[in-house]
Assembly symmetry: C2
């Protein structure tokens, strides 16, 4: 089973940490401060597209996971072109598949189309930035777009609620297309309830962490979290953030659906546009 996920957002929003937390495996290299700086200096003033593939296991299922990192997005003084290399990468992968699909011999096709794109929104507490709107408008029609509120531990519960409302208003006002899991006719009531709960939390307010702590101290119970002088955040605690919901949607219930939506809807739409002229 092959799954390709893209992560996009300004530097320092916890992207590398989240990818490693989501799949419980060191997939994306988390850069310490200095490495990030060198990367920024050495990078020409454009967004890079980097790809990492690992074999992981989820619920006993072997998975070939490809993570596409996009360092540099939103990090320059002028980010006018920021979304372009990313859009280009998504479209090239559709083109690549289209070429292969059109061949006489289609025995050894490789599919590197992007099945989901997680977009990290900076937790300002106000509303979407112009950068966010530009990216989501451009990419929404091309890829399953999953916006998340990054480092949501900087917001109180009331601030998260207000921020989510304003983000959804901005998404509506700008005709931005984001991914919502679908409820199917033959779904059992439990599944329908689960999907509704997932939908009610979008955009997910997430916290990521590679560190574990004893909780309570001295006990055998270990939790993943972030330890502050004023308290301990548990990322798997749904009262603290929506990490569990994101993981549930991405991995447990909707990987299949995300792939189908990419190949049957988004790709077909790209193909039709391309073949029409």
């Amino acid at each position: 089973f092959h799954f390709t996920i893209m992560i996009v957002g300004e530097s320092g929003l916890g992207k590398s940490t989240l990818i490693n937390t989501l799949f419980n495996a060191p997939i994306a290299p988390t850069r310490d401060g200095n490495a990030a700086k060198d990367q920024q200096d050495s990078a020409s003033k454009t967004v890079e597209i980097n790809s990492f593939t690992s074999d992981i296991e989820e619920n006993g299922v072997k998975l070939k996971l490809t993570v596409i990192d996009t360092p540099g997005f939103g990090d320059f003084i002028n980010n006018t072109e920021a979304h372009k290399p990313i859009l280009k990468s998504i479209e090239e992968r559709y083109e690549n598949y289209l070429d292969q699909e059109s061949r006489v011999n289609r025995k050894n096709m490789t599919d590197n189309r992007v099945h989901a794109c997680i977009y990290f929104i900076a937790p300002t507490g106000h509303s979407l930035k112009q950068l966010d709107v530009q990216f989501m408008k451009e990419l929404g029609p091309k890829v399953n777009l999953i916006p998340v509120i990054a480092k949501s531990d900087v917001l109180t519960e009331a601030e998260v609620t207000g921020f989510k409302e304003r983000i959804l208003q901005d998404i509506k006002a700008n005709n931005i297309q984001i991914y919502y899991p679908a409820v199917h006719e033959n779904d059992d009531p439990e599944t329908v309830q689960e999907i509704k709960e997932i939908i009610s939390r979008i955009p997910f307010a997430i916290v990521g962490s590679n560190q574990t702590f004893e909780h309570p101290p001295g006990s055998k119970n270990h939790i993943r979290g972030r330890k502050y002088p004023w308290g301990l955040i548990e990322i798997d605690n749904e009262a603290h953030c929506d990490f569990v919901k994101l993981r549930q949607m991405l991995i447990r219930s909707h990987m299949e659906e995300l792939k189908e939506h990419t190949t049957q809807i988004l790709y077909e739409s790209h193909r039709s546009l391309k073949l029409e002229g």
Copy 2:
């Protein structure tokens, strides 16, 4: 006693909250999410310079405080020009003073020069952004520049330490000039110690809040802070953030010095350059 302070940083870094917290008075209008959005829409694509003056009292001393807000800085997709209106405002105030100083009748001079500029660094945890470097390089020689780490409650103690180190390295590497309180020959040992402690915390990692809570719950003791499901941050607790140190440096010990440094060093340097040609 008249003091003019400028606050600069991207939207959502807690600037309005901090100004109100610093002076314990509702000086800057804290915008809720929607107001910020309207402001962004209605604002032409340039940084605005807004000024608010209030009469406040600090330690029994009456103070005419002017706060200059700079909404729009860093908020656009292209921020190439972001620092220019701000630099222009600082220089215009020097020009204004120079004009008045050169008149025959100097009875009614008004001094609106900027005595300090607090620059809010987004708490990415990595190092300075290009936007930060550009602003600080341009403005450091013109105004007393006080960089602070905004919303530092998003960083653990270890992350704050690492981030401060890398920020100071970036400041050094880019020849950025920031304000440091001076130790004077005739200072008593207690004052020298206090100044050294202030200097050791630069750049200050701050948290701001307009809300108060009973601490512990049910007690008469009220603290200013932010309440999360996992704990309560106390902004006046030096183990939680450097707010007390910033307040100490700005208000208690160094308002006089900040004014002197502006009028005797920075202004004079501007005047000499201007008069030389």
